[in-house]
């Protein structure tokens, strides 16, 4: 898997290595311990990056769906339907991915052995469980809704009522689902993540942008017609992207030199090309192209897919930059200087 040990920045010893590091002795050099990492790299691989993306997507799609119904009225029901469906589809692989990632998968249920909100992962497990239930409920309700004619109205009304009541806790939970992953990363010693306040906001805004893009993609795929829902989604997408971009900038700046594995390392192409290029710039550019008709629809589809890929690239690059960052003893030393 990528991100293991190779792409380390050179430690002082290594830099000296060409001529200077010619002995086991390093007196006179900056305090360091050879090129040995001070920290352990995360054990998390593609499953986690994918989960971060899908969890965010599910959260964003669900939230937008609920907001559309609550604030938008009948014209926006398609957003709710699509959002719920996307959340359901995105949520299904989440638990299997997380279980696969475990060192001892048969003990997955130990995650719910205690309730320990201090641990973002424990909190996240509970949140994911709850959110999965909510998404399930919403899906059931949408299914019921679509078969209204065949069912007793009481059942539909109960479902409607339940889902509306659930929003009181559901929306905050979904926000947690979309953001806890970022906080989880920030609650590690990995220098590029450690204690960073921007990661949670970044991840939740990415959740919204990818959620919106996925709904938009679904709507475009199912109908050619322009609709207020699509217009509104367009605004949500742009807003989320702008916020996401701001958060990303804030994140990179706040990291200072520690951002190098992300901005200059092996996964820099993912970040610059995937997230910044594919996730922000390309869709914004495409959506502003003065074209119409069928082409416009296809351009929109491409822009939405690009946004989704950008969201995936964001999680991917940040996760694997963490591997490189943890393996870099200089970064670890820098991150542990007294403030």
């Amino acid at each position: 898997m990528p991100g293991d040990t190779d792409n380390r920045r050179q430690s002082p010893d290594e830099q000296a290595g060409k001529g200077g590091k010619n002995s086991a002795d390093s007196s006179g050099q900056e305090a360091s311990y050879y090129d040995v990492p001070m920290l352990k790299p995360p054990v998390w691989q593609w499953e986690i990056a994918t989960y971060f993306f899908l969890g965010g997507l599910a959260s964003g799609a669900y939230i937008l769906g609920r907001l559309a119904e609550r604030f938008g009225g009948e014209d926006y029901r398609e957003i709710t339907r699509a959002g719920t469906a996307i959340a359901a589809v995105a949520a299904i692989p989440c638990s299997p991915l997380l279980i696969k990632d475990l060192g001892d998968p048969k003990r997955f249920h130990h995650m719910l052995r205690v309730f320990k909100p201090k641990s973002p992962m424990n909190l996240g497990s509970w949140v994911l469980t709850a959110c999965s239930a909510l998404i399930g409920l919403a899906t059931v309700r949408e299914v019921l809704d679509s078969k209204q004619e065949d069912l007793p109205t009481e059942a539909v009304r109960v479902a409607d009522g339940a889902i509306n009541i659930s929003d009181i806790v559901g929306l905050p939970l979904m926000l947690l689902l979309g953001s806890y992953t970022g906080i989880l990363l920030s609650a590690t010693a990995t220098p590029v993540w450690s204690r960073n306040r921007w990661l949670g906001p970044l991840f939740i805004s990415s959740a919204m942008s990818t959620g919106a893009a996925a709904i938009s993609l679904a709507l475009e795929a199912t109908s050619e017609a322009k609709s207020p829902a699509k217009d509104a989604l367009q605004k949500v997408e742009t807003t989320a992207r702008v916020v996401e971009g701001a958060m990303l900038s804030g994140y990179l700046v706040s990291c200072g030199e520690l951002n190098e594995p992300l901005t200059k390392g092996k996964f820099a192409p993912h970040l610059w090309g995937g997230t910044v290029g594919g996730g922000f710039m390309l869709p914004e550019l495409l959506e502003r192209l003065p074209v119409g008709g069928k082409v416009r629809r296809w351009i929109k589809i491409i822009a939405d897919m690009s946004t989704l890929l950008g969201g995936l690239a964001l999680r991917w690059s940040i996760l694997f930059a963490g591997h490189d960052s943890a393996n870099d003893p200089e970064a670890a030393r820098q991150a542990s200087r007294p403030k």
């Binding site: 052995r113 205690v114 309730f115 320990k116 909100p117 201090k118």
Partner: protein, 189 residues
């Protein structure tokens, strides 16, 4: 944990920085943790001596069911007071080791492999070889007519890693009994 109010742990943490871990919430123990114990419970202890260098550290060998389960320094020993060096601490792996040879092995002249043999076979054959070689090499007198009673075409090497009793029997049998002169060990070197 369950009763833990949200983020209350960080309150504890603040106490920590004030030099006190503060009361910790009860911990969720597993079944194994509840019954935690060491494997030495019920073991037989045998006082021994480290077989590596000449410092002579005391060892305690712990056995259960006829197996060695642990070897560590003997805290009573006035020499090492329970401590050991890495080699002494490795005594367990010296005794319990898949590379240890556990059968007699025999290599015939010009052969390229070992054959497994029985102890009995090996003892008999070695005894025969010793006798043959002694018959061939025994010298009662030197060329100058001085008394020798010595066997000069056989020898033995090793002893500094053995017990005194083993050294005694080697010297007694090979020198006192058979007349072999070249009996040596690491001590010279």
């Amino acid at each position: 944990m369950i009763k833990l109010p949200l983020f209350s742990a960080s309150q504890n943490a603040k106490n920590n920085t004030l030099h006190g871990a503060g009361p910790r919430p009860p911990q969720p123990y597993s079944e194994q943790t509840l019954h935690k114990g060491s494997r030495l419970e019920g073991a037989t202890v045998t006082e021994s001596v480290c077989p590596y260098c000449a410092v002579g550290c005391g060892l305690n060998i712990y056995t259960k069911g006829g197996k060695i389960i642990d070897i560590e320094g003997n805290p009573r020993s006035p020499i090492n007071e329970g401590t050991l060096c890495p080699k002494g601490a490795n005594s367990f792996q010296l005794a319990v080791n898949p590379h240890r040879v556990k059968n007699v092995m025999y290599r015939a002249p010009y052969s390229d492999h070992w054959e497994t043999k029985s102890l009995d076979w090996a003892l008999e054959r070695i005894a025969q070889r010793v006798k043959e070689t002694r018959e061939e090499g025994f010298k009662a007198k030197s060329e100058d007519g001085l008394r020798l009673n010595a066997v000069q075409n056989m020898g033995s090497l090793g002893g500094a890693t053995l017990d005194n009793e083993e050294n005694y029997l080697i010297k007694k049998l090979l020198s006192g009994g058979l007349g072999i002169v070249s009996i040596e060990n690491q001590a010279r070197i």
